[in-house]
Point group: C2
Chain length 248, copies 2
């Protein structure tokens, strides 16, 4: 039977996500309802465009819909925590856009809640689903490049959008782009780091325009990660092992 989806947020990313679901084989995924917290009109427009049966003017209406099994959350960053919490509390599985939350304690609370309720909870980190990552993981497992000692990754684009510049919108390069570079370090070295140092520049709102950090790991591992919203960085990554290098 098809997985019954609810879509929380009627913006561009939800649009992309629903379009992506349509590419999946028939009968695997079914979008039941879409909700926009700002207005029913916006939700209805989205529902009409994608032929979705139900449009809701609030996330609560989505949460109490008994048909929905899993909710895709694509609200603004600062709302991810409360939205995801709402759906988990109503027994829905959740696929939440990155960043899952704005800080560690929020993320921890959601994970505890999902565990307690035995519900699927996932951060929508799409790059991990790219074919190149499948290949990368296989090479790391096989030890093609030996023992990994060094990871360098940067991601930077000229992004002149409000949600990135304002603190109240959960802005900043770390929360937007940092996730992509950090997940690579986590993928390669795991969670057990020794030390972290970071520097960067803030904009006039006190939100980070750029960030570079160094993370050291046991057994001589080191990751050097950078993000930027004022410069187009090469957006490349090097994973350097004792026997060779993988460039992504």
């Amino acid at each position: 039977m098809a997985i019954q989806w609810g879509i929380a947020g009627a913006g561009k990313i939800s649009n992309d996500f629903v379009n992506a679901l349509k590419v999946c084989p028939d009968g695997h995924h079914n979008v039941v309802a879409v909700a926009a917290a700002s207005s029913l009109v916006r939700a209805q427009k989205f529902a009409d465009e994608h032929n979705i049966p139900i449009a809701c003017g609030s996330y609560e209406l989505l949460a109490i819909n008994p048909t929905i099994e899993i909710v895709y959350v694509s609200s603004l960053n600062p709302q991810h925590f409360e939205n995801t919490k709402l759906f988990l509390e109503h027994g829905k599985a959740v696929l939440c856009e990155k960043p899952l939350c704005l800080n560690f304690s929020q993320a921890e609370e959601l994970i505890m809640l999902a565990k307690k309720k035995n519900l699927f909870l996932m951060e929508g980190l799409w790059s991990r689903s790219f074919p190149v990552y499948k290949e990368l993981v296989e090479h790391l497992k096989k030890g093609t490049i030996g023992k990994v000692l060094f990871v360098e990754a940067q991601m930077g684009r000229k992004l002149d959008v409000e949600r990135l510049k304002l603190k109240q919108l959960g802005g900043g390069t770390v929360l937007d782009l940092g996730v992509y570079v950090l997940q690579l370090a986590v993928l390669v070295f795991g969670h057990k780091y020794i030390s972290v140092q970071a520097l960067g520049h803030l904009n006039e709102e006190g939100v980070d325009d750029s960030m570079s950090c160094i993370i050291t790991y046991p057994e001589h591992g080191i990751a050097v990660l950078s993000t930027h919203t004022k410069a187009e960085l090469p957006n490349s990554a090097f994973i350097v092992g004792t026997l060779g290098t993988i460039k992504v």
Copy 2:
């Protein structure tokens, strides 16, 4: 008239340097003498190979030779300070292999001494003389890539040699390779940094095997530099400006 050279150190780098001098137009450079601090035999062998008139068994003999105008110093890192000081005190100009010294105060003392004596003193940072650097400097001056916001450079080679591993030989990746990546940041952003953070791993002798550092500069400049002696890094550099990127 030809510049009269003395060569302090009869090792591989001196060999390369003297060979390089031979490529220069006739009558520009003349190697008068070579000295090896360890033994006259070693100096004599070097002199024979390169057809150098005088071989000395001590640097003092080189320093008091009235014909010599400039000395090329290629001793081990911890000796650079005292050797360079000796030659400056005897009124010789000095081209000293990198790193000029082991710390800031030593370097400052030599620079003050050279200024006081009105003598030429230069660190032998060969990469700055590569044609690509000339081109790079021209592009930076012309503003081809706009205002530079981000520099990333790494240099890493598997170097399993004693002089790099032992503290008493002035070992470590920072003193050996750090010079090359740091000079790029200095070339682009100058000396006025805001903040520096660095992490890395030490070997069993307490000498750095790897180092990564972040340097922030005024007007949103940031440099991310890495060195390694256990891994073959890509040895590339990105200089990212508001209008484009230069890869070296």
